[in-house]
Homo-oligomer: 192 residues x 4
């Protein structure tokens, strides 16, 4: 899992660079310690375009280049802060990655379509994050506004559900996000 | 259950009055026969207003007067036609009851928050419809446009989730729709 | 979709052969008429074996031979009768296909993991049934007892989730049940 | 929320008293620090008895006495450990509270019926925990074996869904668990 708020990857408290951290936010050392000892609460959002009947017509994937020069595709993903509601974390991460006028339709219900358990040890679940044990609540989120890749993303590509499930796309996703994307497509009835 | 497309109640094929019925639609007699022998597929929609974080701030209920002069409140509800997708039936019934510019956000996923089984015999489930056995897929549907009550509805009232769960509102709902409304509020985390 | 209660395919009211039909059941002609004009309520069940933690370890698929001699694999599937609850229909069809001591754990919640819309016209949804428009509520159902294929099934094969998602298995499933099976595996976090 | 693994309430790592803690477990001080700065992953389980059709016939509530002598009723609830799967945490907490032969049917799917967000500040959500910000994945879990209250619980009472929703029961539940219980009953179609 690439924490989209979290690039370079050792910078956990993502807003830290942009504003004065509120009292009570963890230092880099404290976060590193917590990460080694507690599961961390995350959200994963699959941004989609829908037609008037709600049918998914496109899926948005972020394109990034790793420090090693590898192209990767990613979902919107990030940590839930202390004293932050799930729905506010979803909104914050989507605006952070897709820009302030993406106009996401945050789900009315907190029921996720699945829970992705990213383990530091590969193979226990389909999800893997070498940095931590993250428990991520996953949602499909329609966006209706203008989306622009932010921060370290090179591009935001819109693919059809069929394209998003293709092997060529799946191999560019990491930590099990390819599987999570296909689960999202299964949930909306568009698994190819 | 009051079929919102279906008032007066013996008029089953709701669009029949407004346009030429497509070939293959059932006559009133055929529908009456089918209703006595097969469960009928329905959708129930709970129209809501949400804030930017997706949190429900208001629920829309249709106000009607029965032939006996009784005031009733109802959800958007109606039959799924032959060869019609669930999502298209949801869109059709919402536009029929709330007007053409209600701008509903039809869910991307076909997974309903519950299935309401309206039985002709009271007491088997919380739902009752003396006319038929209806199996209704229930969804919470945010609407963002201008909503105007249509056809036989006197008014569309927007209540807070707390008001919608109050006894004074619940007693004006029939066939178990009050219970269904509270289930919807439970699903969005707003059960009072 | 092969109605597992429905073999040979023109025999709709499945229990008809085995017992005296209750008053109000449809004749073959009446069912044929209804099928041409109304969506029919169905259930699909994906029988699974789970371990102590609820993790799916095997999926049960029915093996049949079509009149044309083709081998097919199928889920448990069948119609919901008039005045029958969804949960009772699930139990009835599982016992009919897997035998009386399959000991299924029927879900406590009526919320299905998806709704499969089988259309008589191919291509509108991933599901297709040339005989009818069926709206099928789909559930994953753990079974703990001894399962024996009944009626026209040759065998009940237990596959791992990975095997069940393989192309060689998927091509033996019809009407979109392969897609539905993979959606079920996505829902339980075991999509391969 | 009463962490059922967590009595007296300053003892966070619940298994600490019973066995040698694995390397990497947090000290009491470290947990206190993390609790003040990160949301903590929890599970809530609503233990139920079901009939052959999966319909809920009874709900199990733990009866405890607080240090102040107040009687309280509680769901099974507790923290998810580092490197522990959700389903394993559910099993562990149910066995810890209901005994080793409760025989819970852990859900095959990780999709919870809701996510209860317990905030240290009351009023932000329906859930409140003065000790921490907990994000709790909530499941209805049928149990089929012999259940015996463990540790600090005085009793395990089985109530009908209707009784469980009554005001007299609801007032004995704390931190919003009464609301969560009613959401569970809504999810299984038994909200009274």
């Amino acid at each position: 899992m690439t924490d989209t708020a979290d690039f370079p990857p050792d910078d956990f408290d993502d807003s830290y660079r942009h504003e004065t951290p509120p009292a009570g936010w963890l230092s880099r050392e404290e976060i590193a310690a917590a990460r080694a000892q507690l599961p961390i609460v995350y959200v994963d959002a699959v941004p989609v375009r829908v037609d008037d009947s709600g049918d998914v017509v496109a899926v948005g994937l972020l394109l990034r280049v790793t420090p090693e020069g590898q192209m990767t595709r990613a979902l919107v993903s990030g940590r839930v802060m202390y004293h932050e509601r799930i729905r506010d974390a979803l909104l914050r991460h989507i605006e952070k990655d897709l820009g302030p006028v993406a106009l996401p339709q945050i789900p009315a219900s907190p029921q996720p379509f699945t829970v992705a358990e990213y383990f530091p040890t590969p193979g226990i679940t389909p999800y893997h994050d070498p940095r931590q044990h993250a428990v991520s609540l996953a949602y499909v989120v329609p966006v209706t506004g203008d989306c622009q890749p932010q921060q370290h993303a090179l591009d935001l590509a819109w693919l059809t559900p069929e394209q998003a499930c293709e092997d060529t796309v799946q191999v560019e996703m990491h930590g099990g996000q390819g599987a999570l994307l296909r689960q999202a497509m299964a949930h909306v009835g568009r698994l190819a």
